[in-house]
């Protein structure tokens, strides 16, 4: 097995009595990064904590520490503990932790990190708790623990058959000192009875009854609602607003100007309107007249970006290198055939189903309390504290269930807005709600991107040279975090002898952020489409070309990982999913008349996915997707098959939806789109049949939220090429191409 996070000897287990009797076990787990990671400047360490309590009534409560956005983490992490504890899943309750770095360690929903980080530590916590149950029973019965076994929340003496429930033993166990976690024995995976079982979401029974569970469902005594008007032009400053006219509107309690701090990730200028009913507050915006200073940003547009990018690509002179090896120029000079094409993908919005919202209460002593749907709560606490000039311990944050995240809620601008508004009405809880229009127009978008790709093919039909001039964006002043950056090792970087990636950056003020499978959601399309062009040119199909490229190649060494959980790229795992997907889809065999298959592979977020799309065109030349076959390798176990399949299916439909119709265009310095009529998400009728299989390999399990999305986009566009001979080099797919 590859390296992975495990409990170290410095892990602290603490047993204490639960109020009213019972056991609380607290595990404080230092996550030590491998020396190589730390030396490379990676994070040196962090602490993961876990809390398990067993009450005398035999209820086992496990604290779910990470934010739940629909990825299933609130169900999955407790499953790991419960299985090793040998609990009955029916006796397990899960409660949501508050945001508290000191008590819970990192609490983040992002990057598909939670599975690899927690797989071993949570199991070890469960196993340690089980060992304490055995010890408590041995002590009570005056026998050797060796003669005892556990089963579904009970300790049983094998010889006599007598038994005690965990609840009965919990108070005794609270008096014992916990075992050294590094020495506890883990189960033989064959004995797993919860891991690998399809288990429904722990909150689902409440959701189907419409119980208040999401951020926007928060209700507090005396709470008022806030609407927030901001400029459609990114970077604009507020000069004046007719507040008096707005205050005279029905139901309006107050209206005031919020002065931003120039950082869109925190607080932009705007006007807040308060009412006892959000609809009234929002309606009063119609009466607002605000004078804005757009600065230099008011004439930015997608068209202008496109012209600038095309000119840069035509110049052949990128601003800066990303990576290069071999002799690229020589490869092209001696090529028998050169392909030279431009690809484009647009800005995308996240549009989680629950519009952005945040409830905040400024207490009289200057402390602030939040009920916030945020994927990144600790970062929000820190930056709000900084903005308000208070210490982080004065910021209390209740993490709510979220109606989707997709990366949008990694940025906490809504928290800063709610804080700035709550600050004006201390003692009154304020719920800020954005309209869908606010959400579409004030996103942190997946950046648009342009690639000029060239391939050199020699007389033997071998791909000898590869050149990518990537045109992307930079934000002025900022530390140039580019959420769609191109890493130097993006496939096929290490698999073409002469290769160069280089880039040009254009300045923008359009806010940019991570969208599910950041970078990969765009680069998979570009690279796997262009490699399909190479395959066609050399008379083979894409999976054959990919398999040839990795033929005989060894696993790459682990380079930089996140807390030691990022194993290097393994061509064997790539081969495994490619051959699996080919077999599942009957690749190479005839398909229905007027249908075609397309292929895509991608490696992202530690997961390997190969996907085949079966598509056709309707009489009106609309794209129809009939079937998708997906083969994924995310390691040795599919912890919760329910959640895993749901993520694969959702990712695939998400990707198809992006390809078929999603784009945000910039016009006059702001987003042109505003709601679901012009940002048209996929709906049930376009949903294909999805066939998913996992290739099980001897690697630690990794996350499912992202890696199934990227390959479906090129699989679709490659199928359309097969069908029509027309190559989709610009997203979303313009069906006029097939007319």
């Amino acid at each position: 097995m590859s390296e992975q996070a495990t409990l170290s000897r410095r892990t602290l287990l603490k047993a204490s009595a639960l109020a009213g009797g019972g056991l609380v076990l607290t595990a404080s787990i230092p996550m030590v990064a491998r020396a190589a990671t730390a030396a490379a400047g990676g994070p040196a360490e962090a602490t993961l904590n876990a809390f398990v309590s067993i009450a005398p009534d035999n209820t086992i409560t496990i604290v779910g520490k990470n934010p739940e956005i629909g990825q299933g983490i609130k169900t999955m992490l407790p499953m790991l503990i419960a299985d090793e504890l040998d609990a009955d899943w029916n006796q397990v309750r899960v409660t949501q932790a508050e945001s508290d770095a000191a008590r819970f360690g990192p609490q983040l929903a992002g990057g598909s990190f939670a599975t690899p980080m927690n797989w071993m530590p949570m199991r070890q916590v469960g196993a340690a708790t089980r060992q304490m149950m055995l010890a408590a029973a041995a002590q009570r019965w005056g026998v050797d623990a060796k003669g005892l076994k556990t089963e579904l929340g009970k300790v049983i003496e094998v010889s006599s058959g007598r038994s005690a429930t965990y609840g009965e033993l919990a108070s005794d166990a609270a008096k014992l000192s916990p075992p050294d976690p590094a020495t506890v024995t883990l189960k033989d995976p064959k004995a797993f009875h919860i891991i690998g079982r399809a288990i429904g979401g722990v909150d689902s029974p409440r959701v189907v009854k419409g119980e208040p569970i999401f951020g926007v469902d928060t209700q507090l005594p005396g709470m008022v609602y806030a609407a927030f008007e901001r400029s459609h032009v990114f970077g604009a400053k507020l000069k004046s607003a007719n507040l008096d006219a707005v205050k005279a509107e029905p139901g309006v309690i107050d209206a005031f100007v919020i002065e931003g701090n120039g950082n869109a990730e925190q607080l932009v200028d705007g006007v807040a309107i308060l009412s006892n009913n959000w609809w009234l507050a929002n309606k009063a915006r119609e009466k607002l007249t605000i004078e804005w200073d757009n600065g230099p940003w008011g004439d930015h547009s997608s068209q202008r970006y496109d012209e600038t990018a095309r000119a840069a690509m035509a110049s052949g002179k990128p601003q800066e290198p990303i990576v290069s090896h071999g002799d690229v120029d020589a490869a092209f000079a001696s090529a028998a055939k050169v392909l030279d094409q431009e690809y484009f993908y647009p800005f995308l919005a996240h549009v989680p189903m629950e519009p952005q919202n945040c409830t905040a209460l400024m207490h009289d002593d200057g402390a602030i309390e939040f009920w916030a749907p945020t994927q990144n709560p600790q970062a929000g606490q820190g930056s709000v504290a900084q903005m308000l000039g208070i210490t982080p311990d004065k910021v209390r944050l209740h993490i709510t269930r979220m109606g989707g995240g997709f990366g949008r809620r990694l940025t906490n601008d809504f928290m800063h807005q709610a804080a700035a508004i709550a600050q004006k009405v201390p003692g009154t809880p304020v719920q800020l709600i954005w309209s869908r229009e606010d959400d579409v127009r004030s996103d942190f978008y997946r950046p648009a991107g342009w690639h000029r790709l060239r391939a050199a093919i020699d007389a033997d039909g071998k791909l000898t040279g590869f050149d990518d001039h990537f045109v992307t964006f930079s934000l002025p002043g900022a530390g140039a975090y580019n959420p769609a950056a191109m890493a130097p090792d993006i496939f096929p970087a290490k698999y073409v002898p002469n290769l160069r990636y280089a880039q040009t950056q254009m300045e923008t003020r359009v806010p940019m952020g991570a969208l599910r499978a950041p970078s990969s959601n765009a680069l998979a399309y570009v690279m796997q489409s262009f490699l399909d062009e190479v395959a066609v040119e050399t008379g083979k199909d894409l999976p054959t070309l990919l398999l040839e490229m990795i033929d005989g190649r060894e696993k790459e060494p682990d380079e930089r990982g996140f807390m030691g959980v990022s194993p290097g790229f393994n061509p064997d795992r790539m081969r495994g999913v490619i051959t699996k997907a080919m077999a599942m889809a009957n690749w190479g065999k005839p398909v229905a008349d007027g249908h075609a298959l397309g292929f895509g592979f991608y490696f992202s977020h530690m997961g390997y996915f190969a996907e085949v799309v079966e598509a056709s065109l309707s009489d009106r030349k609309q794209v129809q997707v009939h079937n998708v076959w997906a083969a994924g390798d995310v390691g040795s176990h599919i912890i919760n098959p329910f959640g895993a399949l749901n993520q694969v299916e959702g990712s695939i439909i998400d990707g198809i939806g992006q390809a078929m119709g999603l784009a945000v265009q910039i016009e006059n310095g702001g987003a042109k789109q505003s709601n679901f009529h012009d940002y048209q998400l996929p709906r049930m009728p376009i949903t294909p049949k999805i066939h998913t299989e996992f290739v099980i390999t001897d690697n630690a399990p990794t996350g499912m939220g992202e890696p199934a999305l990227p390959p479906v986009i090129p699989a679709l566009t490659n199928a359309l090429f097969k069908l029509t001979g027309k190559r989709v080099r610009s997203l979303p797919i313009d069906t006029k191409l097939f007319a």
């Binding site: 419409g210 009913n277 609809w279 959702g650 439909i653 709601n675």
Partner: protein, 157 residues
């Protein structure tokens, strides 16, 4: 203006402007937050309720337009009907949801569909549910769960 609206079998008084959408009367006046806000423009179905058994988008239904004799049903009362209970059960057994935010609207629309057409075909399910967006794209499972209830009928619930 005060309106009297029958919601889940109880007559509720609403002192709101006549053009206030039912959604915001439910959520902010009555504290019934099971009905969800998704778009505010009748584009997503998150806010679906029944008015006299017919699925309606409450974000675009002014309180003043609801007849005095009309009966509004929200997700909070879904479990009072056989179809509602069967759908809730199927939703859990099929593990339909990811984030769950759209599901109140999906369930209300699905229950209206099965009430008027207990055995919908696959394409009837697709077109009846096309108005409900699920950003998490749980469509394969929503489809399957409705088909399961249609197949089994609701007699045993």
């Amino acid at each position: 203006m005060t309106y009297r609206v029958n919601i889940n079998g109880e007559v509720r008084e609403l002192d709101v402007p006549e053009d206030m959408p039912l959604l915001w009367a439910l959520r902010n006046e009555l504290g019934m937050v099971g009905t969800k806000f998704g778009c505010g423009k009748a584009l997503c179905g998150a806010c679906t309720v029944h008015v006299d058994g017919v699925a309606q988008r409450s974000c675009s239904l002014p309180v003043g337009s609801i007849g005095a004799d009309s009966k509004v049903t929200t997700i909070e009362a879904l479990e009072k009907t056989e179809i509602g209970r069967a759908l809730q059960q199927a939703w859990l057994e099929e593990d339909v949801m990811q984030c769950g935010y759209c599901q109140a609207g999906q369930l209300m629309n699905a229950s209206a569909l099965l009430a008027r057409n207990p055995k919908p075909s696959a394409s009837q399910i697709d077109s009846a549910m096309a108005g409900n967006i699920c950003r998490c794209a749980c469509y394969t499972r929503i489809r399957d769960a409705i088909a399961v209830v249609a197949e089994k009928g609701t007699a045993n619930v």
